[in-house]
Symmetry: C2
Subunit: 468 residues, 2 copies
C-alpha cells in the first residue's frame, strides 16, 4: 500500500552521511537490509527505508545526531521496537533513523517511591523482569513488547488501562532531545506538580514530532496480593459489552476487561490451540487482596448473568492465567493468520462507554456487508475497540474497501463524541481526521506548537500534523 506523502523529498546528502559515519562508526549503517528493517512497522504501508540508521548510546549522542541533521535540514526519526501500526516510524521524506535499541539500560528503580527511570529503548517486558523482585510492576501493556520510549511517544495503553491508566497517567517525566539538539528534563519525580506548562504530557503522544524521548520515568504499582482471571462466553456481543459497562458504572476496579468476537475466538483457537467456545467472549482479570478479588469476581459474575453470560471459566494459578493472556495477546497475529500473507488495517475507535455497544453493533453490521474478514477485539472498559480488517496488501480493491470501512468506523466514533484513535496514534494515516475531531482552530494550535518547537520540521515530518 502506498504511503500518502511524496516520498524522499529531503534525502540525507552524502556530506551528512559522511559526518554521521565518521562520528558513529559501525553504529551508523547504510546496508539495504538494515534500512529496510527500519522502513516498516505493523501498518500495511509499503516499506519506506531511511537513508541510514544510527544507533546512539546516550542522550548526548542523540543530541549530536539531531544537531547534524538540523544543520542539513534533514529529517530524523526515532525508532523503538517498530511495533506501531499507523506508519509512525516511516521516513517518508527521507532522512536518518535513530534506533534507540542500544539505550536499553535501567537507570534507577526507586521502589520506595513506586517509580523507575529507564532509557527509552527498554521494553516493557524487560522492565517488568528487572523489577520483579521489588514486589512492584509496570502495568501498561499494549500487547506488543514495545519500548517505553515508543509507548510514551504513542500515548499507548492496552488491556489494563481500565484500572491503571494509559501512558498519559503513568509517565512521570521524560528526558527529551529537542529539535535544537538540547537536552530537557520535562519533570521531577514528584507525584504531582503545578509548575508551569505540562511539558511531559506535551511529549507523551507527540510521536517523535516535537522531540526525541531518551529517558522515561514511570509510575510502578505494588503487585497485587491476589489475581484471578476468567473467560466468559456470551450469546451476543451486546451482552458482553453491557456487562463491562455496568461493571465500570458500579465502580468495580476490574483490572482487565477484554472482548473478543466469535471470529477472533476462532482465530485464537487455531493459532494458540485453545478450545474456547466460538462465541463473543470476555477475558477478565481482577487484582486486589484475596477478599477484594472475590468480591469483585462475584459482583461481575452476577452482572454477567443478567446479560446472558453464565459459564465463567476461571484461571487462578499463574500458569493458567499466562496461557489465557498469551492467547489474548496473540489475537492480532492469530487474526492475521486467517489469511496467510495478509496485512491488517486496524481501526481504533474509542467512544464514551454509553455509546460503545451501539458503536460496535453498527460496526459489525458494516463488516457483514464487506467481503473482508473483520474480527473485533476490544478494551471495552475504556470504550475502545479494534476491527482487524484483513487485506491482501497487493490488492488495491481490498485496500480501498478496508479504508472505506475504517473511515466509517472513525466517523461513527466522532459522531458519538469519541475519538478516531484511542491508543494507536495518528501516524500518517489519521492526519486528515484530526481536522474533523478538533476543528481547524484546534489543529491550528497543534501546528503552531510544532512550528514553535521544530521550526525546520526535521523531527519525524509528515506525522500528526500537516504543515502545508
Amino acid at each position: 500500500m502506498q504511503n500518502p506523502a511524496n516520498a524522499r523529498c529531503r534525502p540525507a546528502p552524502p556530506e551528512l552521511l559522511q559526518c554521521l559515519s565518521d562520528r558513529f562508526q559501525e553504529r551508523c549503517r547504510t546496508g539495504a537490509s538494515e534500512r529496510e528493517r527500519h522502513g516498516r512497522d505493523e501498518s500495511p504501508y509499503d516499506t519506506t527505508p531511511p537513508d541510514c540508521v544510527v544507533y546512539p548510546t546516550t542522550s548526548e549522542e542523540v543530541a549530536e545526531a539531531v544537531r547534524l541533521c538540523a544543520a542539513y535540514r534533514v529529517p530524523i526519526i526515532a525508532f523503538g521496537a517498530g511495533t506501531s501500526i499507523e506508519g509512525h516510524i516511516m521516513p517518508i521524506e527521507g532522512g536518518v533513523t535513530l534506533d534507540l535499541s542500544l539505550m536499553n539500560h535501567l537507570i534507577a528503580v526507586n521502589a520506595e517511591d513506586l517509580t523507575a527511570t529507564v532509557e527509552a529503548g527498554v521494553t516493557r517486558k524487560q522492565l517488568n523482569a528487572a523489577i520483579e523482585d521489588t514486589g512492584l510492576f509496570f502495568p501498561v501493556d499494549p500487547g506488543a513488547d514495545a519500548t517505553l520510549g515508543g509507548m510514551a511517544a504513542t500515548r499507548a495503553s492496552g488491556s489494563n488501562a481500565v484500572r491503571y491508566g494509559t501512558m498519559r497517567e503513568n509517565v512521570l517525566g521524560l528526558k527529551v532531545v529537542t529539535a535544537d539538539g538540547e537536552i530537557v528534563h520535562t519533570a521531577r519525580r514528584a507525584k504531582k506538580s503545578s509548575a508551569g506548562y505540562d511539558l511531559t504530557r506535551i511529549f507523551v503522544g507527540s510521536e517523535g514530532t516535537l522531540g526525541i524521548i531518551t529517558e522515561v520515568t514511570v509510575r510502578l504499582f505494588p503487585q497485587p496480593e491476589a489475581v484471578s482471571a476468567a473467560v466468559c462466553p456470551f450469546g451476543d456481543v451486546a451482552g458482553a459489552v453491557n456487562t463491562v459497562i455496568r461493571t465500570i458504572q458500579r465502580g468495580v476496579p476490574v483490572a482487565r476487561a477484554e472482548l473478543l468476537d466469535a471470529l477472533s475466538i476462532t482465530a485464537v483457537n487455531r493459532y494458540s490451540k485453545t478450545t474456547l467456545k466460538e462465541q463473543p467472549t470476555l477475558f477478565l482479570e481482577f487484582h486486589g487482596t484475596p477478599a477484594s478479588v472475590n468480591e469483585q469476581a462475584e459482583t461481575v459474575q452476577s452482572i454477567a448473568r443478567e446479560h446472558g453470560g453464565h459459564d465463567f471459566e476461571w484461571a487462578v494459578d499463574s500458569e493458567a492465567r499466562m496461557r489465557l493472556w498469551d492467547a489474548r495477546h496473540s489475537a492480532f497475529l492469530a487474526c492475521l493468520q486467517l489469511r496467510p500473507g495478509a496485512r491488517a488495517f486496524v481501526t481504533d475507535a474509542c467512544v464514551p462507554i454509553s455509546r460503545l455497544a451501539e458503536c460496535i453493533m453498527a460496526t459489525i453490521e458494516d463488516t457483514h456487508t464487506s467481503t473482508l474478514p473483520c474480527p473485533i477485539l476490544g478494551h471495552v472498559g475504556d470504550g475502545n475497540f479494534h476491527c482487524i480488517i484483513i487485506v491482501d496488501p497487493a490488492n488495491p480493491a481490498e485496500i480501498e474497501e478496508a479504508e472505506r470501512l475504517n473511515q466509517r468506523v472513525m466517523r461513527r466514533a466522532l459522531a458519538m463524541d469519541g475519538t478516531c484513535t484511542g491508543e494507536h496514534g495518528v501516524g500518517m494515516h489519521k492526519i486528515a481526521l484530526l481536522h474533523e475531531e478538533f476543528g481547524e482552530h484546534g489543529v491550528d494550535l497543534m501546528r503552531r506548537l510544532k512550528q514553535a518547537w521544530d521550526p525546520l520540521n526535521i523531527l519525524n515530518p509528515g506525522k500528526v500534523v500537516s504543515l502545508v
Copy 2:
C-alpha cells in the same frame, strides 16, 4: 506586599472601555469596589485592580471580549472564585478582568459515562450538589470552593488526589477561547485518546496564559458504598508521615491521608471548637465496599501502631465525617486566625514520598529558627505539604523572612527531585524557580509555546513564564 512586576504598563484605553461598555452594558463594570475585589486573591500581594470587569455569559461573549482586547493589545485575565494563592488573577500590567461567575450552568451530566460538562464558573460544591442523586461524585477537592475553570487552570488537587488524581487526570476535555478569539474543543468525551498533541493537558495548569477556559468536562466516580474516616495523633511528625508512606507502598487505596502538625491542630481547635489532641495528627478516609473499607482500615491501623499511632478516633456516620473534614478544610483560615489581620505565605513543596519525612523535618527545623508562626499541613500521600507562614503584610522584615523560608523550602524540594509547587501553581511568585526546576531549555520550550499561542501576550501576562 509589592507585586514583582512593573504594574499597569498596558492599561485599557478609554476607547476599549467604551467598546466593552457598549457591548456588555451593565455587565461591564468600572466601579472601585468591583475593581478592588478582582484585584486580589488569597496571596499576600497588594491588591492590583483591573481597569474594568466584564461578566460574559457565553463562550462567544468571551471570544468577543478577547478579540476587543487583542485589537488594543490590552491584557485580559480570567477570574473564577479568586481563591488562588500565588497572585494568579492579578492584572499586573493593567487590563480587563473576565469574571466567569455568570457562566455557572451545568451543561450535561452523562451519568452512564461517568462524566459531566459544566461552564467554567461552576464551583466544585455546586457540581457535587447537582449530581448527588445520580450516585456519582466529583472527587477533586482543593479545600476552597473554587470554580472548575479555575481548578483546571491551576492544575489543582487537594486532599483526595492520593486516590482519585488531580485535575490533570480528571479533566477529560475543555472548551477554550484562544488569544485570537477562536473557540476550541480540546477533546471529545472518550476516556482515552491518542489523537494528536494533548491540548487538554496543555491548557490544564496554564493559568489563563494560553487560553480562557469556558467549559470543563470532568470524570465522575461512583459514590463509594462505604466511607469511614478517622483521626490519629502521633508522638512525632515522622511517625505520621511514615505511616502514610508505608500505606501507599503497600498499595492500600486510601482516599485521603492528611497531616496536621501540633500547631495546626491548636489553630483548628480554637477556630472549629474541636478538642483534638494537640499533637501531629493524621486525618484519614477510606472508600470502598464495606468489606474493603474494613480491610483498608485494619491494615492502616496496624501500620500506624508500628509508627507510634495508637488512638484512632473513628467517624463513620456522615455527620461526624463532615465535622472532621470541615475542621480540616478550615485549617488554612484557622491558621490565619493565629494572628488576626495577618496574611499567609503558603509553601507548596512536593517531593518523592521516600524523601517526604526528611523534607518536612528539615522544614520544621527551619521554622524553629524563625520568629514567624509556621503551622504545617500536608497531603502526605502525594508527597505534598504546605507550611503556612503567617505574616503581617505591612511589615517588610516579616515578608522578607517569609520569603527566605519559602525559598529554602522550594530549593530543598528541588534538591530532593521534587517540585516547587505541587498544586498551587506558579502565578507571579515562582517564575524564577521554574528556571531551576526545568533549566533554561525547558523554560525556553514553555516560552516558545506561549509566544506561538499568544503572540501579543494579552492572556494573563506576567504569569507562569517571563517573556523578557
